[in-house]
């Protein structure tokens, strides 16, 4: 973090040469090995009580998301209602972590979620491409924060990252972090979207993770959901290793949010197993791990009912948003 002295072994300065030396000095990721480890953990079997617990935890970790050009205030209100009470028939179902919307719909979400613990997250910084002047990105962020967003999901400049201009990426994240400040209040939490589907290698995923954390990210997030592949198990694994090692090096804990492509309960539980066996249980909490998703919640609810009653209610019993 820029305002504290770097821990030993971290880059002394944020110029390109220092960042490059540091990021390229991180241990490499063997692609075959990372895939094999993720695939091996995907065979873990969660049954009965473990499954029930994991489903509720997954529901509490959901960032219920709608990021379409066609989004309307009505849709955001419906999504917010669902976030507060995921299953109208069952009060025991926990609330989700946050609702995630475009910046212009933040006021609608804030209004709809007033008085509930569900947070409002807003994408910002010219999501999803991030192709806008820095001033526009900062204005985008400030407006969302001023409108009451609790969390900002920014995108990094992938072009600058892939071109090796690490300083530019670092400066932008740091600037957006400053724009998250709220006069007289808690700053908005900053999630940094790496768009791993465009980073090409796991080595790059690891470097981008460290770069974002060094620049002050509270969370690192896989994807916008607009690029395929989005969140895959090996990518989440590499990012979990990064936050684990970053805490060991600096003492600061950073969260992880896989987003995009997580549609089924099985997908979600596999991610939780990955967390449990990579970083350990310190991250098994909505404060440190989120699942960015839209259709996932209904499947979690359906499996929850299935586990409790032994029968599938069928998809028509759950609200479509």
């Amino acid at each position: 973090m820029p305002d504290t002295a770097p821990a030993p072994g971290l880059p002394r300065s944020t110029d390109n040469a220092s960042l490059r030396a540091f990021l390229h000095g991180l241990p490499g990721v063997d692609e075959v090995g990372a895939r094999a480890r993720a695939a091996a953990l995907a065979t873990r079997s969660l049954k009965t009580t473990a499954k029930a617990h994991a489903i509720d935890l997954a529901i509490r970790m959901v960032d219920l998301t709608t990021l379409e050009g066609a989004d309307t205030p009505g849709k955001v209100r419906a999504l917010s209602a669902k976030a507060r009470r995921p299953d109208p028939d069952d009060r025991a179902v926990p609330q989700v972590a946050a609702v995630c919307v475009y910046p212009d719909l933040v006021p609608v979400a804030v209004d709809a979620l007033r008085g509930s613990p569900v947070a409002v997250a807003s994408v910002a910084t010219a999501f999803p491409a991030g192709r806008a002047p820095l001033e526009a990105k900062l204005a985008d962020t400030r407006q969302a924060v001023a409108d009451g967003a609790d969390e900002i999901d920014m995108v990094i400049d992938r072009g600058a990252f892939l071109a090796g201009d690490y300083r530019k990426v670092h400066e932008e994240i740091a600037a957006v972090r400053e724009a998250c400040a709220r006069p007289g209040g808690e700053p908005a939490h900053l999630k940094v979207i790496l768009e791993t589907g465009e980073l090409a290698t796991y080595d790059n995923v690891r470097r981008a993770s460290w770069l974002a954390m060094l620049a002050g990210a509270d969370f690192i997030k896989t994807s916008t959901g607009k690029v395929s592949p989005a969140a895959t198990l090996p990518v989440t694994l590499v990012m979990l290793e990064a936050v684990r090692d970053f805490r060991a090096a600096t003492g600061r804990q950073v969260g992880v949010k896989p987003a995009g492509g997580i549609r089924t309960t099985k997908d979600a539980l596999r991610h939780l197993v990955l967390v449990n066996e990579t970083t350990g249980p310190d991250w098994l909490d909505p404060s440190w791990f989120r699942l960015g998703a839209s259709s996932l919640l209904n499947d979690l609810l359906m499996q929850r009912t299935r586990l409790a009653t032994g029968t599938y209610p069928g998809p028509d019993h759950y609200t479509l948003d």
């Binding site: 090995g33 990372a34 079997s45 009580t49 935890l57 449990n276 249980p281 310190d282």
Partner: protein
Amino acid sequence: MADTTFAYAPAPESRAVVSLRPAYGLFIDGTFTPPTERLITTVNPADEEPLAEVSVADEGDVDRAVAAARRAFEHVWSPMPPAERGKYLFRISRIIQERARELAVLESLDNGKPIKESRDVDIPLAAAHFFYYAGWADKLAHAGFGAAPRPLGVAAQVIPWNFPLLMLAWKIAPALATGNTVVLKPAETTPLTALLFAEICRQAELPPGVVNIVTGAADTGRALIAHPGTDKVAFTGSTEVGREIARTVAGTRKKLTLELGGKGANIVYHDAPLDQAVEGIVNGIFFNQGHVCCAGSRLLVQESIAEEVLHRLKERVSRLRLGDPLDKNTDIGAINSAEQLARIRALAQTGRDEGSQDWAPDCELPARGYWFAPTIFTGVSQAHRIAREEIFGPVLSVLTFRTPDEAVEKANNTPYGLSAGVWTEKGSRMLWTAGRLRAGVVWSNTFNKFDPTSPFGGYRESGYGREGGRHGLEAYLDV
């Protein structure tokens, strides 16, 4: 607030898929004999409960099995058009796949290995081996051994207890594909999947006598090896027994392949992909409780990263789940027998006596059965017994090195030569090291990877001959 209750509930694979007879006879000439008078009991090493009794074949039984194999060789199997032989092997492969769950559960019951390994490694690889050699049956003219390479005749095969069905497949598939017939003796502590395989041979309507399975202990093995009526001896097991077999076979017309012990070095350079290297170290020594001849039982780590690697390794090993082999979430199962457990304990004790420091995670061992916690020895020197002798258990000896030359020197400083692993992101260093290691198999940024297309075997005191791949055909051809 961290979640402290995320625990995996028991997820046991059902035993119901396996039906065991109380006692088994020998499989000779296509039928099961009545159980012999002398029987041995095979137990579940996870709880010491008896599973079944199996026969002990004496010299007369072995003689009958060899005679049946000879008849089948001369009258049925070797005259058969090769494409027809291939069909039988394809059929066996498919039946193994169809009955995979049954075979996996039975393997874990009898051997103690975790179900995830028998389900995801042993049984699929066994089927793959039969598929692979089925394909060779009618293409032997293109294998590089002449236009019409001839089979040897009857093969005597003795296999170990660590991968019972997989070792059976490694032995039987190439032998049958090349036109030989076999008499196979499974290990005395793990005979059950071989006996189920006998049923599979019947189900595949394999002609009687092509595959014969005789159970028993060392005496049965000796009788089979010494029998004058066989043309080929194939053995996988300890170097000690391998020596005895080589002496027995010496001076006869029999062709011999031996796949013996090892003390594999896993070399981790400072520029290794660390997270995957840690996985590879764990997989190298704790896969199958370390009951692996090609295990990476010696970790050679460059001193500049030794501390970090050990730290990460201990974290990782602390997450291994030891317990019920049938639980789908178990990583480390039971030690196969009381005898093997005693041997592991004795060798681990020499490590402590000779001044190495041992570390094991805080894990509770089940009260019944044969168990040994995954153990890491540091401060090990080349002179220590735990750095020289094959422990064949979940015990890792950690040594450090400074230069690549020193790594290669230490890795080669063993009478064995079966396997080694090298971890570095630098291609030139990888090739330099691999070219200097005296080991039959060198894995690059991975460990314990097996494939039927890849030849496997050692040299020096790890044995000779190759199994798997095109090379594996040679051991069963008159070339």
